[in-house]
């Protein structure tokens, strides 16, 4: 489903290279965890997948269902089924959350040549999904993410994911700022979306989230490339011994 081939990418404005020859393959139905120390390029990778212009891909390619997405803008990627749950969701004053959800859902449907949702259908979908995430409808009448707590913002991200039904979900540090109850709700939301035709990339610094979203594969990112890959035991090892040991072992191998 996703194939990242020898990817090199820099900060567009000043040219500092962040991603330095990254290779990663994720299959349909797979939940892949990407772990790495601070500054290893985790968030940058998520932004590059979503198509943020601040980063420039200098070589390599990203194939999604066999096609390169490098020339697609963020909206086209989203309509094609790529979803990024932000580490820091943007607060946008003046744009009501409900209005935003409706525009997003309908623009994606339009891009795929589908009929727009009727207002009753839209409301029903939002109500159902919000209830499973313990989201109060009153919260959705407020401007997008404005004044939401950290936990509310993350739950709102998962709500968007549920509503938009993407094919490739990228969760960037979704666990940061969550207490254990919120973490469970968010993990349940993600797990409910697991399906044979959907892939998920969970980017995290800590192993904790992976107790709730159990990955099929774990990849360790360091200095802009994947240095080692394996199953969920790598995550346990990282938790027990820290990044230094794992990185040293990878370097020696």
């Amino acid at each position: 489903m996703l194939e990242i081939k020898d990817l090199h990418a820099s900060i567009a404005e000043e040219g500092t290279e962040i991603i330095k020859g990254l290779n990663l393959t994720v299959s349909p139905g797979e939940v892949a965890a990407i772990m790495g120390p601070n500054g290893s390029g985790k968030s940058t990778l998520s932004y590059i997948l979503a198509g943020r212009e601040d980063y420039e891909v200098t070589s390599g390619d990203i194939l999604y269902n066999g096609e390169s997405i490098l020339e697609m803008d963020p909206a086209e990627r989203a309509a094609a089924g790529i979803f990024l749950a932000f580490q820091y969701p943007m607060e946008i004053p003046g744009v009501a959350t409900m209005q935003f959800l409706k525009v997003a859902m309908n623009e994606q449907r339009k891009a795929r040549g589908e009929e727009e949702l009727t207002t009753p259908d839209f409301l029903r979908l939002v109500k159902e999904s919000a209830a499973t995430l313990n989201i109060d409808m009153a919260m959705l009448k407020r401007p997008l993410n404005v004044g939401f707590s950290g936990g509310e913002k993350k739950r709102a991200e998962i709500l968007q994911m549920k509503l938009l039904q993407p094919k490739l979900c990228v969760l960037d540090e979704t666990d940061s700022g969550l207490d254990i109850d919120a973490l469970k709700i968010v993990a349940d939301g993600v797990n409910a979306l697991r399906s044979p035709d959907r892939a998920t990339i969970v980017i995290t610094h800590y192993q904790r989230l992976l107790d709730y979203i159990v990955p099929d594969s774990v990849h360790v990112l360091s200095k802009g490339k994947i240095v080692t890959s394996g199953d969920k035991d790598i995550a346990k090892e990282l938790e027990a011994n820290g990044y230094a040991d794992v990185l040293a072992a990878a370097a020696a191998a």
Binding site: A75, F100, V103
Partner: protein
């Protein structure tokens, strides 16, 4: 000595094409403009002032960012048989008054509101509308006084609670129109008036002076929307007095226009008076749009808030000048002014001059101005959800101005104004 002798000589200036055209059309119109002897005198004086001084240049401080003499390159013919089409009112139940190419249509009958055509007020022997003298720097006053043909005077009776809004549509189909509207809201009267200037992109010169007297305890909402198209030259002014406990919400909206000068002169004259001034200016093409506010807090315990939001694209130029003057006796004045501008293109320009002139020592007054572009992080977030760049930009611009529109209470009015904003964004956003 040289300076003195230069000053002493009344130097004759050479008139521009536009100024010459104005003077010539005045001569052509002599005897055909309505008015009694006083009116005729006032018109003569206005045109003499224009002949002597010309239109203001940027050397005149109030016109520093709007070099009217240079910007007004030509004026359309005075006599134009153009006829604009009336449009549906902003809210469906509004009572409609039309000024079609400067000619007042039939007046509706509204209980508690006495209305008279300005053309007849100008001719009355008793109780005539007085045009008064104009200052040499007062371009709006000069042009309007000289050429004023019609308008409506409205008198709202004491404690009237008018449920249905009144909409004055000034419709232009080319040529020149010069109108004046006068509204007196008696004690405790409550009313909403829409004051719209509508055109079809034809070449027009319009001037309008609107005089609002809001008496003790009256509560008025006045919505002024200038939407005359890309070729319109519009010289406007709203003159306001607020008595004790009077409350006015004044909304001024401009959708482009080739050259727009909209002045607001307000005086808070009675304790407890409150002015809510809001302005939204959506400028595209080669538009030059200047909103200039002068507000005097003259007595104790008066309040005002002024919020201006500009959205500017293409090569348009916006100007906002806001001057709040607080008299020495006007203690406990509370005035809050903010001007925020969103620029959407590299060549869009904005000049902002907020000024506070405070002579009292116990007041709360503040002003602020920001100029920003669309936040790229906000746009990326929207696009990451599949919202196209154009829609995303539209949502963000809309959010920037809708905040102000949504302060209004009438839902149908909010919808109508937002629909117009959406239309602008669709074409220019």
């Amino acid at each position: 000595m040289m300076a003195v002798s230069t000053m002493g000589t009344a130097k004759k200036i050479e008139l521009t094409d536009a100024e010459n055209a104005l003077v010539e059309s005045f001569v052509d119109r002599l005897g055909r403009l309505p008015g009694n002897a006083d009116t005729v005198q006032a018109r003569d004086n206005a045109i003499s002032t224009l002949k002597k001084n010309g239109l203001p240049t940027r050397k005149i401080e109030a016109f520093h960012y709007t070099h009217l003499r240079g910007l007004l390159k030509s004026v359309p013919d005075r006599d134009h048989s153009g006829h604009g089409e009336a449009v549906s009112p902003l809210v469906s139940n509004a009572e409609l008054i039309t000024l079609n190419n400067g000619r007042l249509g039939d007046l509706p009958e509204i209980e508690g509101v006495q209305m008279t055509p300005v053309s007849s007020s100008l001719q009355a022997d008793v109780g005539a509308l007085s045009l008064g003298p104009v200052e040499p720097q007062d371009a709006v006053g000069m042009v309007n006084t000289a050429f004023l043909s019609d308008g409506v005077t409205m008198s709202f009776s004491e404690n009237l609670e008018l449920e249905t809004p009144i909409e004055i549509q000034s419709i232009h189909g080319g040529g020149q129109t010069h109108t004046r509207n006068v509204a007196v809201f008696d004690r405790g009267a409550k009313a909403t008036v829409f004051d719209r200037y509508i055109g079809d992109d034809s070449d027009v010169l319009t001037s309008n002076i609107t005089q609002l007297t809001v008496k003790a305890g009256a509560d008025v909402t006045w919505i002024r929307v200038q939407d005359q198209g890309s070729e319109a030259r519009h010289l406007g002014r709203v003159e306001i007095t607020l008595d004790e406990g009077a409350k006015l919400t004044l909304f001024v909206m401009n959708f482009s226009g080739k050259l727009v000068r909209e002045e607001i002169h307000a005086k808070a004259m009675g304790e407890g008076a409150d002015l809510t001034f809001r302005s939204i200016n959506m400028l595209n093409g080669e538009s030059h749009c200047d909103v200039t506010l002068e507000l005097d807090h003259l007595v104790e315990n008066t309040t005002s808030t002024e919020t201006v939001r500009n959205v500017i694209t293409d090569r348009a130029q916006g100007v906002f000048q806001g001057q709040i003057r607080v008299a020495q006796i006007a203690q406990k004045t509370d005035a809050q002014m903010a001007c925020n501008t969103l620029v959407l293109s590299d060549d869009a320009r904005i000049a902002v001059k907020p000024e506070l002139e405070i002579f009292a020592d116990d007041v709360i007054c503040a002003h602020g101005a920001t100029v920003t572009e669309i936040d790229s992080h906000h746009l990326f977030y929207l696009m990451a959800r599949g919202i196209t760049e154009k829609s995303g930009r539209g949502l963000l611009v809309k959010a920037f101005v809708a905040e102000i529109v949504e302060e209004l209470e009438n839902e149908e009015l909010i919808d109508a104004l937002e629909a117009r904003i959406d239309q602008w964004l669709e074409t220019h956003g």
